[in-house]
Symmetry: C2
Subunit: 125 residues, 2 copies
Amino acid sequence: MSNQAVPLSLDLTAVPCCPPLTQQRVSGETAALLAPAFKALGDPVRLQLMSMIASAEGGEACVCDLTPAFDLSGPTISHHLRALREAGLVDSERRGTWVYYRARPQLLRQLAALLAVEPTAPADS
Amino acid sequence: MSNQAVPLSLDLTAVPCCPPLTQQRVSGETAALLAPAFKALGDPVRLQLMSMIASAEGGEACVCDLTPAFDLSGPTISHHLRALREAGLVDSERRGTWVYYRARPQLLRQLAALLAVEPTAPADS
DNA sequence: CCTCTAGGTTGACACCTGTCTAATCAACGT
DNA sequence: ACGTTGATTAGACAGGTGTCAACCTAGAGG
């Protein structure tokens, strides 16, 4: 189940990988590749889901633990998890009855690098 | 013109400010506050606009320089710039005939901090 | 006052999204 | 084979989004 619905060029090796947004203009290609990831994080529910998955002990979270944390139906959570999966931010694996989601740090790192800003004030550098 | 359309609680002082997503669960409030920023960056055009503004020399970019860089109408660019502005990512100022946009590093820093991931492999640290 | 130029605003349109219920699928125990 | 539980898929619907053409506003300069 893990990679089936991601036929995109989500190699991420395809991306020149992120000179900070503030230092070099993002190319159209890079933008087209990374914007979907930001978009996936652009929903409060998905942002929390991402965090719950990424910060879970063992590095993975069971859907059965994620769903009850929200006031939303199961299918809706499933829908958001799929969005995260198709964005390349998480990976899923079925083990027995349960499905576990796991963060994929590669893309997260690229996003973080892209948003990097020099320390605090441009004066104290 | 700068701050008029942002009555939101975009203090950003309101946010506990970003223990990394991977280390602590993002609260509902933090998610509600930061997700719109990710959402604003979740469009290729806006991501490029953000980059062009943030990386511009002098720290600001004129709309007259931004618009011709895309194959889009003026109003569409204006629409995207507004989205960035209302997300708290940029600020605009009119000087004479032209309007200049400038990045607001605060929020960018928060987003980057939120996405921070420990180096690369937990092995080679 | 008039006009020219740079941007923004409005209204319209097609499309995408978040949410739900209902139906379906997958694995485990009888 | 059957029923139960966990999760995804399908279909539907309201609301949001990206885009444009048309119009409007703000300065600069006659």
